[in-house]
Symmetry: C2
Subunit: 253 residues, 2 copies
């Protein structure tokens, strides 16, 4: 049973305002909740699951049984964000807000999201970072919230391994690390597959519509472009696809 | 005004069954409809737009004014699939169903979609093909319909330039072109960035969950893998992102 108060609390976490107020977010679905519990990196605050789920995951559940509430599929549908039938939902504590910028001199490549708006793209980019071992993703103040349910879903568990620094002004980064490479994907830059493109620094990913914002153009030390196969009217690549292509080239290519 | 009959016809095109019956599909939004009309590749059957849209596009509209119907934003919302306010919707004729397989000896690289399910992924992959100048995309019978409204939207106009052959069995292709390279992305193949991977042939893209189907594994001549940056729990990349990384490497890398 999910009480009315619990219901109100869980559904409030669909919104950024309340996620930031409580510093909690939702993880839904058997696969991701299982991973969350096995990793034990982020504390589970509350757990809601069906009887079947609890039976099948008794061993995993034992240490935090005091945080568990039985719920039906219908309950979970009412409070959760998934459209497909679901067995389990966790309320999870966010990592503490970073007091300072990440130490970029210690990581080979970091991502900076410049006003990215689509949660599916953001989750997919976190998944790319996860795959290629990029441990530092930063986001401009106007980028979509990294803990929104759609980002968590699209990220397929990346949120459990890749740390996101939100509300980071790019100028503050380049001030603190003045000699770092700042790569940005633009329409008329150097071919990203050219040997001269460095593979360390910050890779700036622009917004889906306008790309990298004008004020940030002057901060780029390297303007790069994914070459087109033919001049045929194609205007752009999806932001997450472009990120994947560039990151693969820089990390593995 | 959109009549009740027209309304019924347009909304029927949300479904594959009726798209195939009438061989018509929907193109929505000012940007894509404009491109459609400028290209004149696919015939417009009917056009519904607001007064503002008609005034602003009078020159473009003149040659097909007899197919035009005035509609309000509210009308368009009712019959269309977009959630954002929209000014124009076109009913468009599909290209004739291909009587035969494409001539793969004439194209350097073709894509084969093996049971892809997510329309967003399919549209994004068509957009990748468009960007890199790949003119031939084939799909297994169980792949999502290339003319579904979500594919059209995610494709950002790629459907106007990239031809899709649907319902193609992979075995028929490899029989007709027995010496062609058949590349497939798998978990334990050769590093796609290795110099030994050929850059011509068919690239097989697997389904989001199960990857390439078991029966097709024997048809692959080259098993390739996008190398991971770290062994850290990341299980996979999004299907469209993986396609982008491999295609970029084969075409441009």
């Amino acid at each position: 049973m999910i009480s009315a108060n619990q219901q109100k609390f869980i559904t409030s976490l669909h919104l950024k305002k309340f996620r930031q107020k409580y510093r909690n977010f939702l993880v839904e679905g058997e696969k991701m909740v299982k991973e969350l519990m096995q990793q034990q990196q982020l504390p589970v605050v509350q757990l809601y699951g069906t009887e079947r789920w609890a039976t099948e995951n008794a061993a995993l559940l034992a240490p935090i049984y005091h945080k568990f509430n039985l719920a039906t599929e219908a309950d979970l549908k009412k409070v959760g964000t998934l459209t497909t039938p679901n067995q389990v939902l966790a309320v999870v504590e966010m990592p503490p807000a970073a007091a300072q910028l990440p130490d970029l001199s210690a990581v080979p490549l970091a991502l900076y999201l410049d006003g990215l708006q689509d949660p599916g793209n953001m989750g997919t980019i976190l998944r790319i970072a996860d795959w290629f071992g990029i441990r530092c993703v930063m986001a401009s103040p106007d980028t979509v919230d990294a803990y929104s349910p759609k980002v968590i879903q699209a990220g397929m568990g990346a949120c459990l391994r890749v740390r996101t620094w939100e509300d980071v002004p790019l100028a503050a980064l380049t001030q603190q690390f003045p000699r770092i490479n700042v790569l940005g994907a633009v329409m008329d830059g150097d071919n990203v597959f050219a040997a001269t493109v460095p593979n360390t620094g910050i890779l700036v990913i622009g917004n889906e519509g306008r790309g990298i914002r004008f004020e940030h153009m002057g901060l780029l030390t390297h303007r790069i472009t994914i070459p087109r196969g033919a001049d045929n009217g194609a205007e752009s690549l999806n932001a997450a696809v472009a990120t994947g292509i560039i990151v693969a080239r820089l990390v593995a290519g």
